[in-house]
């Protein structure tokens, strides 16, 4: 049995090493001051995919990311670690997307890829911390989802057995394929980049990068595996009204510094009454609304 696995990854500013100039005066991120990195929990997700590829020879791991052409760097990073290839979903129409528009675009790309058994992503990205994109993609594609995964133990008879982190411990669940899994940072760290792969794939490019570099262009023509996909909104048949700023109901009103004071978790039962009480409480103390 071999699996087709899509790994969802995001290139993010490295917010773990924030200096003084990390934020602009208007409160938005100064991307120039922060190095762009492979979102850490997406690396945990990639490791799960690569582990499955080892367990089930013939499996294929494709890294999918949305971003500008330079996000091809994290596709290459994925290939250095063992992914077979990847796609950058890149179009001006995607700019300014919130989680809803992002998950719409990514789910359109996943549909375009078509043949998949598992879609694995990190729990959340360190620049937004929403943890919404993975679950939204599952909803849009009508797929089951397992969140907070720590270990995809195996895949047998069309079902994945997954250990997931919950508030008070771990639980092991089974879910049918095709399936969306989001992986927690407590999962195994990603394997290192491989010396042979880095030499093999260092000239891998998306077409817009190759266009400005004759040497890379010539190599990419000779060696098909050096071509990273660069897909537009039109190519994935996306409805422009649901993309980017147009498709994003989230509007940033203002940004302020908050001191996060951690408190103990509280348990809310899964019924409408309890959730309504919680929502009212959150509106009253201005956490939301």
């Amino acid at each position: 049995m071999s699996l087709n696995i899509i790994v969802l990854a995001k290139q993010v500013p490295d917010t773990r090493n924030v200096g003084k100039d990390a934020m602009k005066e208007d409160g938005t991120i100064n991307r120039a001051a922060l190095p762009a990195i492979f979102n850490p929990e997406d690396l945990n997700a990639l490791e799960q995919a690569l582990k499955l590829k080892e367990m089930y020879p013939g499996s294929k791991v494709t890294v999918l990311t949305m971003g500008p052409a330079r996000a091809a760097e994290i596709i290459r990073e994925g290939m250095y670690r063992g992914a077979d290839g990847g796609i950058v979903l890149s179009d001006r129409a995607f700019a300014g997307a919130d989680t809803l528009a992002t998950s719409y675009a990514l789910s359109a790309a996943v549909r375009k890829i078509g043949d998949y058994d598992l879609i694995i992503g990190g729990r959340q990205a360190i620049d937004g911390d929403t943890a919404q994109v993975g679950p939204q993609i599952a909803e849009k594609l009508g797929l089951p989802q397992v969140t907070y995964a720590e270990d995809i133990i195996d895949v047998k008879d069309g079902k994945a057995t997954i250990k997931r982190r919950i508030e008070s411990g771990v639980e092991t669940v089974k879910a049918p394929l095709p399936l969306v899994v989001t992986v927690n940072g407590s999962a195994a760290p990603c394997r290192p980049r491989n010396a042979r792969n880095i030499q093999k794939y260092k000239y891998a490019t998306v077409p817009s990068e190759a266009a400005t570099d004759e040497k890379k262009k010539a190599l990419a023509e000779k060696r098909p595996y050096l071509n990273i996909g660069e897909w537009t909104a039109a190519y994935v048949d996306a409805d422009l009204q649901q993309c980017g700023l147009a498709g994003s109901p989230t509007k940033v009103k203002q940004i302020e510094n908050v001191v996060f004071s951690a408190k103990d978790a509280r348990r809310v039962e899964n019924n409408d009454a309890e959730i309504e009480t919680l929502i009212k409480e959150l509106i009253a103390n201005h956490t939301i609304g």
């Binding site: 090493n17 290192p192 491989n194 010396a195 792969n197 260092k202």
Partner: protein, 567 residues
Amino acid sequence: MANFYTDNEALKHYLNHPMMEKIVDLKERGFADADKYDYAPQDYADAQDSYDKVLEIVGEICGDIIAENAEEVDHTGPRVENNRVIYAEGTARNLDACRKAGLMGMSMPRRLGGLNFPITPYIMAADIVSRADAGFENLWGLQDCAETLYEFGDEEQKQKYIPRVCAGETMSMDLTEPDAGSDLQSVMLKATQKEDGSWVLNGVKRFITNGDSDIHLVLARSEEGTKDGRGLSMFVYDKRNGGVNVRRIENKMGIKGSPTCELTYKDAPAELVGSRKLGLIKYVMALMNGARLGIAAQSVGLSEAAYREALAYAKERTQFGKAIINFPAVAEILAVMKAKLYASRALLYACSRFVDIYKAYDDIAKERKLTIEEKKEAKEYSRLADAFTPLAKGMTSEFCNQNAYDAIQIHGGSGFMKDYACERIYRDARITSIYEGTTQLQVVAAIRHVTTGTYLNWIKAELTKECKAADQETKATLEWMAQQLEACTQSVMGIESSEYHDFMARRLVEIAGYTVMGLLLLDDTTRNDDFRQPMRVFVKLGQAEVAKHADFIANFRPEQIEEYLHN
């Protein structure tokens, strides 16, 4: 999030050494693999970029994984269960990372699954690994044994074993026995040829680093009734066949993560490598030369770690109202540590470049006849490698011990406690001047090149090179040191007593060592101003050391040896 390659500018300086272009061209046979292998370089710039990128991986693994595990590995160490070695958990994690990163068999050709790296970038990786954990370097660095198998094994053996090493299987070199340490001619492990022509091994080996490895190179007595080195052959033993057990592992002072084993061989099947009787006199000598370069790299890595620990502590520790680095007595220790570190690294990579060139020619000679010029060049570099290897092993291991000592001194009482890395570095460093031939044995190997003039000729050629105006004074000191080398050598050799020559040998080798290392730093300074300060401090030190030795020789009457020989 540390990277032990990118945070160390000196490594990139040596990676970009002008001689590298020739080395890479020879190793890559004019880039003949470019279209044969998808990971082969297209040209020199591409190859350099690949070395740089792979070393960055090494640096990341070392900074994030191996260095992080070092303390735990030092505390737990390996153990023996049912005659097998079980590594400390951290060691297993380190090995797993190195395997997944494809950092095994780095210098092996691509057709056998290797990366086809020259020795120089491979030794850089060893330097980086040693800084993270010198004990782990032993396990990882034993991939070097594949080099010997590649040089002397037959094609079938190469095809059988080397791809396995490249895929991550470990190796060991089983040489030492209870009664054969420095004196390997006394090896007794018995190799018996059966009627079908195959060989079995019986006996005991001791002090075998990573003795439970997957693939062993074994020195054994194949010629019954012989007693000297000419009765010894080299064998390869495959753990998959069974027959070798680990009786115990040593409880050591340092490099505790690296299992040092006592092995028993009971009818262990083995294959002969190369020709009978050449085991010690040819193959082990080659193996040891590679291993000595490895220990020099280990010494440099340890020196680097010691210097960094000391520097960080001296900046942070405040006494009498200021950081202790601001006291001249402390600052001087740090400056001298840095100078010894830089000089050690200069010598290490000079040596690795010489090895690279002659080994590449040796390998090319298997494919085609070398031209007369190539032969001449190969011979010259082989001689230089032969001269520089014991010098590098001897000088860098002694310096790394001195730096480890000084790192503790900078830490004061805290350094004597188990709380700081400097105490582990101190214990780990101690073995470097002992194994793969003690410093005293390196002197025995190096002294020939003092008396035959290999060092002096190289020194004289270096002195004809131009240097920057700012460095003329330093160069003049180095000229004086070279004159002392020549004069002291003549003076010592003028006395006809081999006992007296042996007695003075280390002094002469050290004079040569300080002069060679000073000149290498002078050359580095012509391309990189960052080397000027450590060069000047080193040459000041060298000048004083040379004067001390010259003074001792001048004021010593041969008959005074008697005072030293009756203890």
